[in-house]
């Protein structure tokens, strides 16, 4: 059932590769900026996922004109525009928090932050 041929579902292989890389960075790295970058990679993989599924082979942009017969599904593309905005807001807020953490803890390494917190207790 599953198509293992290469590059049969090339985009989807890339999607899941990126997804796992992103998730791994979030889990494995202690540096908070790297964590946020990992989160971004993870989100971008989802964007690629949506964009790939909507693409129709040989299709163009969905414009109402005589010579356009086949066009890609615009809906997932628009959804991803929204998701990109959400992602940007998340990144901005995350980075702002990292700046404040640097100011008040003097480090952006998660393990060091945790150590300082435990000493504070």
């Amino acid at each position: 059932m599953i198509d293992y041929s290469f590059p049969g579902l090339f985009n989807y292989w890339i999607v899941f590769l990126l997804m796992m890389i992103g998730l791994y960075i979030v889990i494995a790295h202690e540096n908070l900026i790297k964590k946020i970058v990992g989160l971004n990679v993870f989100q971008v993989s989802v964007f690629v996922f949506y964009i790939s599924m909507a693409k129709v082979k040989g299709g163009t942009a969905p414009i109402l004109a005589d010579n356009i017969q086949v066009y890609s599904n615009p809906l997932p593309h628009v959804l991803i525009l929204t998701a990109i905005v959400v992602g940007v807001a998340m990144t901005a807020l995350g980075l702002a928090l990292v700046v404040r953490i640097q100011e008040s803890f003097g480090t952006i390494e998660d393990d060091e932050v945790r150590e300082i917190e435990e000493r504070q207790e």
Binding site: M53, A83, L97
Partner: protein, 495 residues
């Protein structure tokens, strides 16, 4: 009146959403507070009217921009949705007046207007999640409320609020993105994002691998947002270090609305599939819920910080809601739904009482609360009464929810579950007793006897919520009816 009746489903979202930026434009803390409180009051009135309308004349369907579903975005408010909107707006209308003095104590003056802006945005997002009938729109509102939540948490006085907010941001974003992945897979298989439309299209493809994976992503995604054990690790620190008013608002609303979203997806979108049965995950979810009930309560027993103690108790209480969902018959599901409301009342009241304690003594550590029964009799009584409700003593709301849950478990022939519900309540007795013992039976530390009672502007909202917790515990017929009718609508599927 007809304008109101036609557009009410969208007005409850638009009112707080549009009001939020005005706080930032005016940049005055006192104005922002008065404005937010007025808007919350307006939203509360609207939500009451909406619930009445839904109970009288059935589900409200509102086409945004007059584009009909499944092409346009549709807002669809049934009994459950209207009930959740009522929970959120009722908590907002009590917490916002309370917030003024509490926030003045805990947050620098120049940031006050931002707090109320975030409160309003969070409220708009949460209400939006409850009214929308479009699965992707749900994600957008989820992120609006989540981003506002991260900011609210990070405004806490202790620097640990920052790291708590960032950790919640990372896990919350993962959860929301998991939901989007699952949703994408549903879209691949059905070509629709409208919830009722999805419900009709899904049974045809229910046995494909894509749908299995999609459901897994969705459940794990919302599991993160609603702090289902073992996905709860963000919650204790977030609740402990957020400003008191923010904790009260979030603890009472945010996880409840995530539970609502999970119910909506499992019982409306997957309504005709009966996913718990079809995919054989009922026992897995039930086991997680029960472990959460016990683990949350047991860890709560060992906490030295009362705010953190209540945060762990929240994880246990979420377990009860998920248990109701996983048993899946009408009384149990109604128990889960009514517990969303009841837990919002009692946890909101408890965190507000702790806010009073923090206002006066500047700490919520158990050791500093010795002799509180003498030093702050009204606040201590509020904590005691809220604690009774957490345990589930008769005449409190906690008892009503557990009564429904036990009834559901027995109706499903699962008597061991009923016994486990009782046993986990006994652990709640232990952690509530620890607080009560320190408050009433220990002498205050020397030099702290001159403490006074918290100001009325903090005590009155606390007691209003507490009063509601007892009112609906003594006479549960109204909330019981709404919850039962919501549960029966849900179990009827999309038909």
């Amino acid at each position: 009146m007809t304008f109101l009746a036609t557009h009410i489903a969208v007005l409850v979202v638009i009112l707080p959403l549009m009001a939020a930026p005005i706080c930032v434009i005016v940049r005055c803390g006192t104005f922002a507070w008065a404005w937010a409180t007025a808007i919350a009051a307006g939203t509360f009135v609207l939500s009451l009217i909406m619930l009445q309308q839904v109970m009288d004349s059935g589900t409200i369907i509102y086409n945004l921009g007059n584009w009909e579903g499944p092409w346009g975005i549709v807002y669809r408010v049934d009994a459950l949705g209207a009930f959740v909107v009522l929970i959120v707006s009722a908590i907002a209308v009590v917490v916002f007046p309370y917030a003024k003095q509490s926030i003045e104590k805990e947050i620098p003056k120049e940031r006050h207007y931002l707090v109320y802006c975030m409160f309003l945005l969070c409220q708009a997002g949460l209400i939006g999640m409850a009214v929308t009938g479009d699965a992707f729109n749900l994600f957008v509102f989820l992120e609006i409320s989540s981003l506002a939540t991260y900011v609210l948490i990070s405004l806490g006085k202790n620097r640990r609020a920052l790291s708590a907010a960032l950790r919640y941001l990372i896990l919350g974003t993962l959860g929301a993105t998991f939901y989007v992945i699952g949703l994408g897979m549903l879209y691949i298989m059905t070509g629709s994002l409208n919830m009722t439309d999805l419900a009709q299209l899904l049974p045809a493809v229910q046995h494909t691998g894509t749908i299995h994976v999609a459901l897994a992503f969705i459940v794990v995604g919302f599991g993160l947002k609603l702090a289902l054990f073992p996905l709860h690790i963000w919650l204790p620190n977030a609740y402990t270090y957020a400003p008191s008013a923010a904790t009260a608002f979030l603890a009472a609303t945010a996880t409840k609305v995530a539970v609502y979203a999970l119910i909506r997806l499992l019982f409306t979108v997957f309504g005709d599939v009966d996913p718990l049965e079809t995919y054989g995950v009922r026992n897995a979810v039930m086991v997680l819920a029960i472990i959460g009930m016990f683990a949350g309560s047991i860890i709560a027993v060992y906490q030295a910080n009362v705010k953190r103690l209540l945060a762990y108790s929240s994880i246990a209480q979420v377990g009860y809601m998920i248990l109701g969902i996983s048993i899946g018959n009408a009384p149990a599901l109604a128990g889960g739904i009514i517990h969303m409301f009841n837990h919002a009342l009692m946890k909101g009241a408890l965190f507000m009482a702790l806010g009073c304690v923090y206002y006066v003594i500047g700490s919520v550590k158990l050791e500093n609360m010795a002799g509180l029964g003498k030093r702050m009799p009204f606040t201590a009584a509020a904590i005691l009464a809220g604690g009774f409700s957490l345990i589930g003593v008769p005449l409190t709301v906690g008892f009503v929810s557990k009564f429904f849950l036990v009834q559901g478990a027995l109706a499903a022939g699962m008597w061991p579950i009923a016994i486990l519900i009782m046993l986990s309540s006994l652990i709640a007795v232990i952690y509530v007793w620890r607080v009560v013992e320190v408050m009433y039976f220990r002498n205050p530390a020397i030099g702290s006897e001159q403490n006074r009672e918290a100001p009325l502007s903090l005590l009155v909202p606390t007691y209003i919520l507490l009063g509601a917790a007892f009112w609906f515990g003594i006479d549960a017929s109204y909330t019981g009816d709404v919850a039962m009718s919501a549960a029966e609508t849900l179990l009827g599927g999309s038909k």
